[in-house]
Symmetry: C2
């Protein structure tokens, strides 16, 4: 039998650590007192506490490794999430800090449809980070947004996504807007000789209809926020259709930013987002306007790229306050297989989007 | 124009409070520096900071009220969640503690399909709390689980739900299992002359097919975990079909248990769960094996029941370590419009489920 191995960081005293680990193993599987669980059921279903050790980095924390029988996840993402962190989330003193899955489960979850290679093929870019931007701000008229998109494509940008707050009052408005923007990007590509992609934001309601429209427009991917729409819904949306996915971390901070509970940055925005099918995982880079540290960002990037049997590597996309001057250090920190997602800084850099994009693109090429 | 009014509790110093509130108002709407947002767009789209005040309960916290234009939510739950807490979740020092919506948006989200009245009609119970239990443990054979279900129905229980960790290896296994359990509950009802409901757990994959099967079996509701499956997916699943929903808080603790960020208990498990269509919202009661306080539980119950134009009131379901002896205080604390969800204590109370259920039911009737 194969096992799902989850590591929890517990905030507790030394005598509390082992009982807390055991409580998690029971809570996540049978949710019953031992007295009423028949012994064969307990043996087959209750999680096994493999080890409980002091956390070498903190005297107030312990690391507990628990093995769950693979079958408890029913081969799917929602049961897996419930198994590894469903009720434990309510404890408030246990954080999921590592996760190892059986290869069969990894394969069945599947991961990115494009991955690093597929997206390089689609964009035609090799050996350097991709330059991406967001269509914003919401509220600007469609001509203004189209001009930004056209300029970015013409200037040599690689990928344009809708901002995750760009939603439309109706399906028809969505269809019309993405049609206009797709045409603007195509114009820009023709003008600049490039191959820039446009990935619209898809959210509820009418997700399936919107995905049909994305494909009808000949677009190859979407931006979605898995923690808002639902991780498994997001996964099925892209994997069933072979669409690329740029995953947005909206709402995910509630998991990562809790010191003593929640889910570790690398596990959620790295490993789990990759497993659900993210070709690109967006996260706020250290030093920007959010609170992620250099280590936390590094753990996300590593989890997206680490060898994982049956699952393609994915792209980290540090974002949130990138500037022209931060490009060299970003490229040095993250390496070539990175999507550099630049929003405001590109719009603020110069008068015309096409010129700003050219300069950012040149700076990237100069650094690799 | 109508506004969505969100109140955030900020952990910061006095001079930081106002700038942080302004930063949230911009982050959640345009995500751009003010310099590149045209003035008319800023006026129409950027959130308006209504007030920033010291939190009377803590010198380290401030309360900021921000108004967002109603149209930014596009009348739907996913855009609304992104608007009120998407990127702010990544800040780590802002907690959503209150939320007021325009009536039109409340009506369009819709809320419970059954509510307090509808579920009283379905169960035929008036004037007292409902007695509910969970089918568990996973791993027990179907005969054992069927006997528990039959005994609970025959003994006068009102509602049986699958445990949220009860998932099946295939759609066929799901269909077969819920068929067997539905038949067992029907048998128990015939035996005891009762009207106990059975609501299966529905999760990914194959949600629509599973819902079809639930309805084909003549069942009137489901258990779902909105934060695992996705809040809007859960909402559509039940509201489009007129199904009842018992909402499970799995994963939701990552939001509620963060002291200085996340989303308040009453806002998430009360107001938002109710708006998405929960007839019953399950949460861990104070004093059980989880860490919710009496105040936090009270805030959930109040949010589920408070008058809300166009939205029916819903049932709180305190759970997680209920016992026979805690019934009187539970009933006193929560009142008659409450679902008392008893799992392990019922199985541990006596040899036979039918007798344990009778005793719990009698105790409830005695207390009201």
């Amino acid at each position: 039998m194969s096992f799902i191995e989850a590591t929890y960081r517990l905030r507790c005293t030394a005598p509390e650590a082992e009982p807390l680990a055991v409580a998690i193993a029971w809570e996540q599987t049978v949710e019953l007192p031992a007295a009423v669980v028949p012994e064969p059921v307990a043996r087959a279903v209750v999680g096994r506490v493999v080890s409980v050790k002091a956390d070498p980095t903190s005297s107030a924390h312990f690391l507990a490794v628990i093995e769950y029988a693979e079958g408890l996840a029913s081969g799917a993402l929602s049961p897996l999430l419930n198994l590894i962190f469903g009720n434990v989330s309510l404890f408030g003193n246990a954080r999921l800090v590592d996760l190892a899955l059986p290869i069969a489960l990894q394969r069945s979850l599947g991961g990115p449809t494009l991955g690093v290679r597929g997206l390089r093929r689609q964009t035609g870019v090799s050996g350097r980070p991709l330059l991406a931007t967001a269509i914003k701000p919401r509220g600007a008229d469609i001509q203004t947004l189209s001009e930004l998109a056209r300029g970015f494509a013409a200037g040599g940008g690689d990928l344009i996504k809708d901002d995750q707050n760009l939603t439309d009052p109706s399906f028809e408005a969505f269809a019309s807007r993405i049609g206009t923007l797709a045409a603007a990007v195509a114009d820009g590509n023709e003008q600049g000789g490039g191959n820039c992609l446009y990935w619209p934001h898809v959210t509820g309601p009418d997700i399936e209809r919107k995905l049909d429209m994305v494909q009808a427009r000949g677009l190859t991917g979407v931006l979605m926020a898995p923690m808002i729409v639902g991780p498994e819904v997001t996964s099925r949306a892209v994997r069933d259709r072979g669409l690329g996915l740029m995953a947005h971390p909206a709402l995910a901070g509630s998991f990562t930013q809790a010191q003593d509970h929640g889910i570790d940055h690398g596990v959620l925005l790295g490993k789990l987002f990759r497993l659900l099918g993210s070709d690109i995982s967006v996260f706020p880079n250290a030093g920007g306007r959010f609170s992620f540290s250099v280590d936390e960002c590094g753990s996300i990037a590593r989890a997206l790229r680490a060898p994982m049997e049956g699952v393609a590597p994915a792209w980290p996309a540090p974002a949130g306050g990138m500037t022209y001057d931060s490009l060299p250090s970003l490229i040095q920190d993250y390496g070539p297989d990175t999507v550099l997602l630049v929003g405001g800084a590109l719009q603020a850099h110069g008068e015309r989007m096409i010129d700003s994009t050219r300069e950012f693109r040149a700076r990237i090429e100069q650094e690799v």
